[in-house]
């Protein structure tokens, strides 16, 4: 993969236009490569808003983790 293609993919990943899975399919070998490329471009890993097809399961996940953390106090 050429550097320019790699940079374009990383920019699109940071903008949440493509997923980590798609990066893998397009030639990124591991997530360390992705983190390094983000760092080189001064970009941060994308953050998923509470949106999309898994919202219900994610809200359940937040409740579960809070419950677990609370029970540890």
């Amino acid at each position: 993969m050429r550097d320019i293609e790699k940079e374009e993919l990383i920019r699109r990943y940071a903008a949440r236009e493509i997923t980590w899975r798609e990066l893998r399919e397009r030639g990124f070998e591991d997530y360390v490569q992705v983190l390094a490329a983000l760092g080189e471009l001064g970009l941060r890993p994308p953050i998923a808003p509470m949106d999309g097809p898994n919202v219900e399961a994610r809200q359940r996940g937040l409740a579960r983790i809070r419950e677990a953390l609370q029970s540890r106090k």
């Binding site: 949440r16 997923t19 360390v32 890993p45 998923a48 994610r58 579960r64 983790i65 953390l69």
Partner: protein, 188 residues
């Protein structure tokens, strides 16, 4: 929480992100058994000396009571491909599906919290099962961070590697007032 409940790391990205941030211990903070499918573990650690790889191996070896590598048929296939020099891309994800399926079939009351990478959790529809819940790497870190801030007591290492200092949250806030600081789960 009376049911069997586990945290399953479904992909290398949360493991490597936490390893590089020196924050693997945050996976233990909720007090849940942590399960890592074998192919995910191998994918993250097979290149000795690669960033994060050695830290993950050492961390798992230090926490064998809390962290379990889950063997899968996909993991066996992965080993075969590695030996034959073939691509192993995507096998971590397949192993996670197999490990999850087995986990849920073994115990009908078992529940699992799946840790996923942020873009995958946002865009790709995950398995729908009442016993499964999902959390992104960033949401996970934010909840851990918040739980630390909510604690009434703070303990920190005194700087000599032997002393633990205990202060109240209020005292800690006073002590660090005006000091430069950052959130480790910033954003969102």
């Amino acid at each position: 929480m009376t049911r069997s409940f586990s945290l399953i790391v479904t992909d290398t990205s949360p493991l490597l992100t936490l390893a590089l941030a020196d924050a693997l211990d945050s996976l233990l903070r909720p007090g849940l058994p942590v399960r890592v499918p074998d192919a995910v573990y191998i994918e993250a650690t097979r290149v000795h000396g690669a960033p994060g790889a050695d830290a993950i191996v050492e961390w798992i070896n230090t926490h064998l009571d809390e962290v379990r590598i889950v063997p899968t048929d996909v993991g066996i296939e992965q080993q075969r491909r590695i030996e034959e020099g073939r691509s192993t891309r995507g096998l971590g994800e397949q192993a996670a599906i197999e490990a999850l399926d087995r986990f849920l079939r073994t115990d009908p009351d078992a529940e699992a919290l799946l840790l996923l990478e942020d873009t995958d959790i946002e865009r790709r529809r995950a398995i729908v099962d009442e016993r499964l819940s999902l959390i992104s790497t960033r949401d996970f870190l934010r909840e851990i961070e918040q739980s630390v801030c909510d604690r009434s007591d703070v303990y920190f290492e005194g700087g000599d590697h032997t002393t633990i200092v205990h202060v109240s949250q209020a005292q800690f806030a006073k002590l660090t007032k005006g000091a430069p600081h950052a959130r480790f789960a910033a954003g969102g």
